[in-house]
């Protein structure tokens, strides 16, 4: 059994209020896409409130920024969901819903299997990626790092 799992965080800045007509397309996709994630091969965990999603969690000073935090069995599992499922079709609208961010908006890192990352930790990983570029502690799909070898500590 694998000793590590992959954590991912991505953040997005809303262009318009979440309850407005501009975001209706996004809001309509929340439930089906989250259900798709929950049933996807290799899905382990995702951040959510009692609403069943994480849209109410606004951990940044800029409260337009939403956070998406999840854990997956492997990089391939996460990649399969993000880029090779219906999720891909939803992401093509990303610029209608969210402003482009200059700083890294997605970070990946390995966690010991069974560990759940915190939002505070996720923010640190994004900052680390912005500061140091891709490293084993915070990387991207384009510059991935392999699962650490050996037993988890």
């Amino acid at each position: 059994m694998a000793t590590h799992q992959l954590a991912q965080v991505n953040i997005a800045t809303l262009r318009y209020p979440l309850d407005g007509p501009e975001l209706a397309g996004f809001v309509a996709q929340l439930e089906p896409i989250n259900a798709l994630a929950d049933a996807a091969p290799g899905f382990v965990w995702r951040l959510q409130t009692e609403d069943g999603d994480a849209t109410a969690i606004r951990p940044f000073d800029d409260e337009r920024i939403m956070v998406n935090l999840s854990v997956w069995a492997s990089l391939e599992a996460l990649r399969g969901f993000v880029y090779a499922s219906r999720h891909l079709g939803v992401m093509r609208h990303r610029r209608s819903w969210f402003t482009r961010m200059a700083d890294p908006y997605l970070a990946l890192w390995w966690v010991p299997a069974g560990t759940i990352p915190t939002v505070a930790e996720a923010k640190e990983r994004l900052q680390l990626l912005a500061r140091s570029g891709p490293t084993p502690a915070a990387f991207t799909f384009r510059d991935p790092f392999p699962e650490p070898a050996g037993a988890s500590r």
Partner: protein, 225 residues
Amino acid sequence: MAAMDGAPTDRDLAAIGLLQDPVRRALYEHVVAAGGEVSRNQAAEAAAVGRGLAAFHLDKLVEAGLLEATFRRLGERRGPGAGRPAKLYRRAAGEVAASLPPRTYETAAHLLAEAVEQTGADLELQAAARRAGVRAGRRQPREGGPAVERLLAARGYEPYRDGAALRLRNCPFANLSGEFPVLVCAMNLSLIEGLLEGLGAPERAVMEPAPGRCCVAIISKDNQD
């Protein structure tokens, strides 16, 4: 065989030269159109040549990097009496490309995609792709069979029927979509939407990603899936 980012290599030119032979060309096209693994016998039958000759040419195509060969036992039987495993052929994953004079559009495409990604110009790219699709669709001659399939085939998508849907075996932007999936797959969907609009076709294009094919499928307009 990397993507085209310089002058053609000897290996690329040799691979393309191999396809001049009509038998080899027929065998290659049969394997590609089958979309999976093909046995020697199947390929020989399709190209109307003997099994020995087919095997010779198929192995030449493997040597050149155009096909890949695997060995697999086809029947249920195991152990003594099961026979030797069959040699099966499928299209190789790598690309063969040559342009004379050398043209390195691949390099340009990656740089442009990087810049579009950084500036967040997804919607502008989708609009440009849609316009280009509409223009190409309007130019397509109307005679000579189903226009949608012919146009997609001519543009390298390798369309095939799958029930009511038309699916696309080949992603013409594979390297680029691998690196910038959101950007490039959305561009491709807009392009195909434009092609359908330009053709005046009643179908619509939808994103249905699956491994090993283009993520766009063409379905009839009343299908809500």
